[in-house]
């Protein structure tokens, strides 16, 4: 019997038992569609996280953070100076594997006000001009402050779009984009000029959604305006990923301005004091109490460095550590936070999701395979007589084996194809129901994998019943009632 005939016979048999075959296929359909949908979800997650990773500055960026002094150095705690500009200059001079050093000085409890509107930006950072480059900011309007602004500690600031939205109104509310370059705002009652604004950062997904929404007329609002809880930042139609929100909610001022205007107001002459008071920025505290020997807290909140070569990450960090141990009198009160940790976390999370999804899908495919085997066994028991007749008129072991195997594989193939179709529908449904920032993406590989897997399951499930059928003794099979 030629294979084409065998396939035709297989199809006929499946068609003769439509409902039963459909039920059998259901296992494979579910298995395949769950595998494809799962991998589409994971792929979507992966894409979203990769975008976010690039947005926060890529892998070359390393943050030097304060760390609790190790137990064995606790006795020297009062000698720890913290991270200062001294470290910055030392690193620039003595660590050739580090191409860029960006000092950051943060202050909390900041309120920016303008004409009755106010905002407390999440990131209020005094820094150097090269922060733009390191943190992958893009200037949309105006300019970044420069070294002269920093040298003279000018009251200038560069803001993100979320700050603009809060103080001037978002494009969605106003109907046109406001570019507030040259405007003045009050930051903790000090007058600052806005000299630049970053572009609006968002995930690819949100950008598309926003451009689509632009064409539609605005929906009429029902009832009074209300806040929809945390995360629904005004202006953006969706919470476009935490990383992007964080980036939009940033204000940069020159480092020296920060030091003099805000640190000086803390009333702490913190040089070498070792106390953690850098964040006590209450505006009402005594500037009047400053004396001649008063020096504002010179400690930096963080230090961001850029590694020359990602492959030499370990060497560069060792270099930085050596330099900084020197400036810190051997006290290890700092640590390095690489994006690598973060990206490893992402990779880990993704591989976990992939693994669990894969296992679930594999189990459902396995169950589908068992279903096929079960049905094939029932079917050959039902058809013992038929097999006997076929053998009596000249079917060989191989003929019967092929026939049963083909039936099982055809069921699996049809089930697999139906599963691919269902998975596409399923993913569409998921996208329609929950428009998250991580759109599921169906990949060709996952479809091929799922389909191949279903065919393999069909073959495996068919082997035993086919063997059993082919081995039937024709005399006994013919006698079977």
């Amino acid at each position: 019997m030629n294979p084409l005939n065998a396939i035709a016979v297989g199809f006929k048999e499946i068609w003769a038992n439509k409902f039963r075959s459909l039920l059998t296929m259901l296992g494979i359909i579910l298995g395949v569609s769950s595998l494809v949908a799962m991998s589409a979800l994971v792929k979507g997650m992966e894409n979203g996280m990769k975008e976010a990773l690039i947005a926060i500055g890529g892998l070359e960026k390393v943050r030097v953070e304060e760390q609790d002094i190790p137990v064995w150095q606790q006795h020297m705690a009062d000698q720890a100076v913290g991270t200062t500009m001294g470290d910055v200059h030392a690193l620039l001079r003595s660590a050739p594997l580090i191409t860029m050093v960006v000092p950051e000085m943060r202050t909390r409890n900041i309120t920016m006000t303008r004409l009755g509107k106010s905002i407390s930006p999440w990131n209020f950072i005094g820094t150097w001009p090269n922060a733009v480059e390191l943190n992958q900011h893009v200037m949309a309007h105006g300019r970044m402050f420069n070294e002269i602004d920093d040298e003279n500690a000018r009251n200038v600031c560069v803001i993100g779009t979320a700050v603009r939205n809060a103080l001037f109104g978002s494009p969605e509310q106003i109907g046109r984009e406001i570019i507030p370059i040259g405007e003045f705002v009050n930051i903790n009652n000090q007058r600052f000029k806005i000299i630049g604004m970053f572009e609006h950062y968002e995930a690819e997904q949100d950008k598309k959604a926003r451009e689509l929404a632009k064409d539609k007329p605005p929906e009429p609002k029902g009832g009074p305006e209300r806040s929809k809880g945390f995360g629904s930042s005004k202006g953006s139609s969706r919470s476009g990923g935490f990383v992007f929100d964080l980036k939009n909610n940033t204000v940069y001022i020159p480092l020296n301005t920060m030091w003099l205007r805000f640190r000086a107001a803390t009333g702490v002459s913190g040089a070498g004091s070792g106390s953690y008071s850098r964040s006590s920025g209450s505006s009402a505290s005594s500037t009047s109490g400053s004396t001649a020997e008063f020096v504002p807290d010179p400690r930096l909140s963080t230090l961001s460095i850029k590694i020359a070569d990602i492959d030499k990450m370990d060497e560069a960090l060792q270099q930085a550590k050596n330099v900084m141990l020197h400036t810190h009198k051997g006290i290890e009160d700092f640590s390095f936070r690489t994006q690598e940790n973060w990206s490893e976390g992402i990779t880990q999370a993704i591989s976990n999701a992939r693994m669990s999804g894969g296992i679930i899908s594999a189990i459902s495919l396995l169950v589908g395979g068992i279903g096929i085997m079960n049905i094939m066994l029932a079917s050959i028991t039902e058809r013992v007589r038929e097999i006997g007749i076929r053998k009596a008129i000249g079917a060989t072991f191989f003929d019967v084996f092929t026939q049963i195997l083909v039936e099982s594989v055809v069921i699996a193939i049809i089930g697999g194809l139906a599963g691919l179709f269902t998975s596409n529908m399923l993913v569409k449904l998921l996208v329609a129901m929950s428009p998250t920032e991580n759109t599921p993406v169906i990949t060709m590989e996952s479809m091929l994998l799922a389909f191949g897997f279903s065919v393999a399951v069909g073959i495996l499930a068919g082997l035993f019943p086919a063997f059993k059928a082919a081995k039937l003794n024709p005399i006994q099979a013919l006698r079977y009632e």
């Binding site: 005939n5 003769a16 007589r385 007749i389 076929r390 009596a392 000249g394 060989t396 072991f397 005399i475």
Partner: protein, 244 residues
Amino acid sequence: MALIELRGVSKIYHLGGEEIRALDNVDLDINPGEFISIIGPSGSGKSTLMHILGCLDSPSKGSIKLDGMEIGSASARELARIRNQKIGFVFQFFNLLPKLNVLQNVELPMVYAGCSSRERRERAMDALRLVEMDNRAKHRPMQLSGGQQQRAAIARALVNSPKIVFADEPTGNLDSHTGETILKLFHDLSLKGSTIALVTHDPEIAAVTPRKIEIRDGKISKNVDAKLSGQHDGPKFAVGSQQN
């Protein structure tokens, strides 16, 4: 030369340590064109003999030559090929596949022989014409009467032009009138040159054939050829004798 030659064929089953000789040292020749009946009560070993003659089973001992070929030691695959090419079976319960129509049932042996679909169709229609079933080609077995089903089964048995056709109680499931028509069909086929072996327990049916082989306890107890002894004057059919 005999079409089938059995020499010292035995079939022995072992059931719980007990030895059962279903066939005991049987010698038998069947010549081409013969119309014979194998007769015996149930349990006599006639079915076992038919299975061995029909290559469905292998003997425990002895040699069988079919068409000059030794098949006592043939593999399962070779036996399947011999069944397909040289032997036709007609069963008591017709054994047509219910999901296929008559034409497809008749084509089935040729499917395993590897014939082209065009050849299959032509030869199947020829075979159906021979048993006067060509007008029922598209019917399902369930839509036919018992006699019609048996005719279709005979067409299937003949379609590969076998050397010999075995019919196992072919009238056992039919009323006596239809049974006689079927027997007459076999008779006509034998007149056209087919070698046919009827297996039955019924002496009346066996009376149709010129040669009778009686089996008892696994041995051939009688081997009567009416033609040789001149006693046989042809079968008496109640239904009108068919021309040609």
